[in-house]
Symmetry: C2
Subunit: 231 residues, 2 copies
Amino acid sequence: MTGENGRREFVKLSFAAGVPFALGATPDSLAGFASDPGQEELPFFEVVRNRRSVREFKPTPIPDEHLQQILDAARLAPTSGNQQPWKFVVIRDPSVIDELKEACVRKNLEARRARGMEATPEVAEQVTEGLKGYFSAPVYIVVLTDGESRYPTYNHWDGPMAAGYLMLAARALGYGTVFITDSIPADVTKEVLNISDRFTRVCITPLGVPVAWPDTPQKKPLDEFIVQDRF
Amino acid sequence: MTGENGRREFVKLSFAAGVPFALGATPDSLAGFASDPGQEELPFFEVVRNRRSVREFKPTPIPDEHLQQILDAARLAPTSGNQQPWKFVVIRDPSVIDELKEACVRKNLEARRARGMEATPEVAEQVTEGLKGYFSAPVYIVVLTDGESRYPTYNHWDGPMAAGYLMLAARALGYGTVFITDSIPADVTKEVLNISDRFTRVCITPLGVPVAWPDTPQKKPLDEFIVQDRF
């Protein structure tokens, strides 16, 4: 649990003057926090406000106990009839990460060729460069649901909720994630990781210490989401 | 979709006595916390461990600022390309809640008749009694995604994540929720709340102070979910 000083310091930074309250901490306070993952445990609403989609990571390794804590939170997501239909593929082997990256580049070039677009070595280099940030993390987690679960027609709700929990838990310990669908396509993970048709991929996320915590993208005001009582 | 048996099984499982308590705070600490909603803010992992599916509520009203804080957390869920495709129907008018309940009973009896099952006044009373707990909360929230969002084919991920965030945020403030799909069917909410075909319902959840925090249902051990590197 958090030491009192650490938490107060964070809270103070988070509510620094001039920051619109609705969306949380300043980039500075986030950067400070991020440099010391796992050393503090943020209060719930701080975690929600400070989670970001992160696309560039430091190579800093993730201790097993943090990884376990993050996955342990994911499996506690709401689940239909307590079916718990999830699998988490946890990729730490750098050669598997490299294979994923190479397969992404290959697929991208194939798709370009199929559309009659250029797929020269220069383009290949650009594509590789474009994926560099996504592939800079020490760990990747593929969130899957199992088509042979007890209530498979409910998996489409259970899957994303576990992914959402996982990403919040990572943030609580100071790690960044991003819900990737297209940039690392489902068929690439399927091929490289030998995922059978029994499973449906929800997403793949890198997991690591961010190079920087991005600013909050512009969000719609809360009022725009609310309907009172009925339409 | 799963029928009556599946659902009954779910409820039975959820409330099974003697479930080994493996996942967090003691029922006592939960009960103490729950009696005083909003007076404490739990650290992140405590919230995750202590969220439960709650099916019976006290009539205690929910202050506007708590409701706002909960909805504000929901809209900060990860969202594809920052599209934020959500609507939250917030039902506080008791007459609308009554209409929902009556429509649920009516639908249930219609479904019984269509299957050649009994739908006598006694059955109607049993059905009403069965729904009593679900309809004992002061507030209901329907989570919707908008088919006219920027990337509608990604809504099926964004919707459940916002619902998951909402339920965690409620727990952080001491309120119970439950991700309801079948017990309050989508077509009932559609009819009573005038929801157009433009929107897809993710779920409806009651929101209120639990009569009691249920024990944790039996959960699979973490190891069962993990695949190392690849299948």
